[in-house]
Symmetry: C2
Subunit: 247 residues, 2 copies
DNA sequence: CAGTGGTCTAGACCACTGA
DNA sequence: CAGTGGTCTAGACCACTGA
């Protein structure tokens, strides 16, 4: 039975952990305890291979994932280092508003203030990647949860990406859901700030012109082509973005 | 020369791309074009191995990374599927305020309103994981950029994690930087909302009590132990959170 | 030059699923 | 049972870095 390649695995692996997670956890706890502080050189792949008696692919995976998590910086030809944590990246989950409201067991209602074709200003044209003064789609929709206005969605759309945008029934499907259908893969740039609403927004949301709002401005791009630019205004008293992060 | 193991690599790989990125890009563009819509079964590892003439490790890596990016859902024994994109996770970068200001070439100034020991209320004690009515540290610091108040930082700290917190000179080092030193690895939960400041915050920030503020509440945990709870109030006119995401 | 990480291969054993 | 993904090994070639 000399050539039988292990019928019984030689590695039960502590508490169900796969070898690569054992290596990862070891490095992680060294970072958490301060054994390596930012800038310190971590053990090389070869050292970890010896120490854990695993293959290089396995320690490579552990280190690669720590790099993806921002905990480790790796430089080819030089080594792996404990990352500087002054920048911590967090994961923010942006859900479609309709889904969010329905998930709470509430009723979602969309009121279309207008949805029309418009000549783009120079700035808007640049942001949407269309010629200046060409036509773009512009919609203004108020979303309510159980009758309470929750978001004022002012959106411009690149007609090349969604030629039928104006024919969509936004009481049935949100612009976000529709646009995800015509262009499923997105990248986006966004900013979040607190500000007072415009007079029109205040009226649509049923709030005062001085009431603080959480405003998200988001520009969405699919395969290099700008799709849409949205200004989402939420009454501060009714809206919160929350999330979690691990550094 | 029969047994020579390729002196000349047989795979120049289009435009410098590694094989795993070619597989990844192929799948990604199929998702972007709508060739697979959410819920569709993607090609199996075995099929991709054949199609690209690469090893299973290689297609495995491509699929694993797409899963980590939230584009693909994989189920052992069943298959890989195009993910539902209604939840899109974005990366939000939270930088230390000091670094951010210095990076702009400006001057950062911290004014310590107070830093003291305090009896925790029941709710606070629960959040920090300490016994009710035990002592916690409480600091209130205003951060300014070139003399303009930018953030009011109201922070509670678990004394077990940072016993010397009150002795720190916060004009030299921010609480964030100090706490990163004593507990280098973090997890956090946070929420972001728009609201009016308290009267004290308005006064410290030099703004009106009705001016909208962007308020971040963040609870930080290290290895399961709560470290600190912070309420960060920013005048909406001076502060913006921005970021980017790829779904 | 030795050491480092980046990546790949061709096989393997395994757990899990659903017919 | 066949098909799926989860993971591992022991080797390999390569590009890059810094002495």
């Amino acid at each position: 039975m000399a050539s039988t390649p292990h019928t019984h695995s030689p590695k039960p692996a502590a508490s169900g952990h796969a070898p690569y997670t054992r290596v990862k956890d070891f490095l992680k706890s060294g970072l958490a305890s301060g054994h390596w502080v930012p800038g310190d050189q971590m053990p090389s792949e070869a050292e970890l291979v010896q120490q854990f008696a695993v293959s290089r692919m396995t320690v490579g995976r552990a280190l690669r994932e720590l790099q993806a998590e921002g905990l480790v910086t790796r430089v080819q030809g030089v080594g792996s280092f404990a990352a500087h944590l002054s920048r911590v990246s967090s994961t923010l989950t942006i859900r479609d508003l309709h889904d969010e409201i329905v998930a709470r067991g509430h009723q979602h209602q969309a009121t279309v203030v207008f949805a029309k074709k418009e000549k783009a200003t120079a700035e808007l044209a640049a942001q949407l990647g269309v010629p200046a003064r060409s036509a773009v789609f512009h919609s203004l929709i108020v979303h309510s949860e159980n009758g309470v206005p929750l978001q004022c969605e002012d959106r411009y759309v690149n007609p090349a990406c969604a030629p039928d945008y104006l024919a969509v029934d936004f009481q049935t499907i949100t612009p976000t859901q529709y646009l995800l259908g015509v262009a499923p893969l997105w990248e986006a740039q966004y900013s979040i700030e607190a500000a007072a609403p415009t007079a029109q927004e205040a009226q649509l949301l049923g709030i005062g012109v001085q009431d603080p709002c959480l405003i998200v401005v988001r520009r969405t791009i699919n395969r290099g082509v700008p799709i849409t630019l949205a200004r989402l205004v939420h009454p501060g008293t009714h809206y919160q973005i929350s999330g979690a992060f691990k550094p």
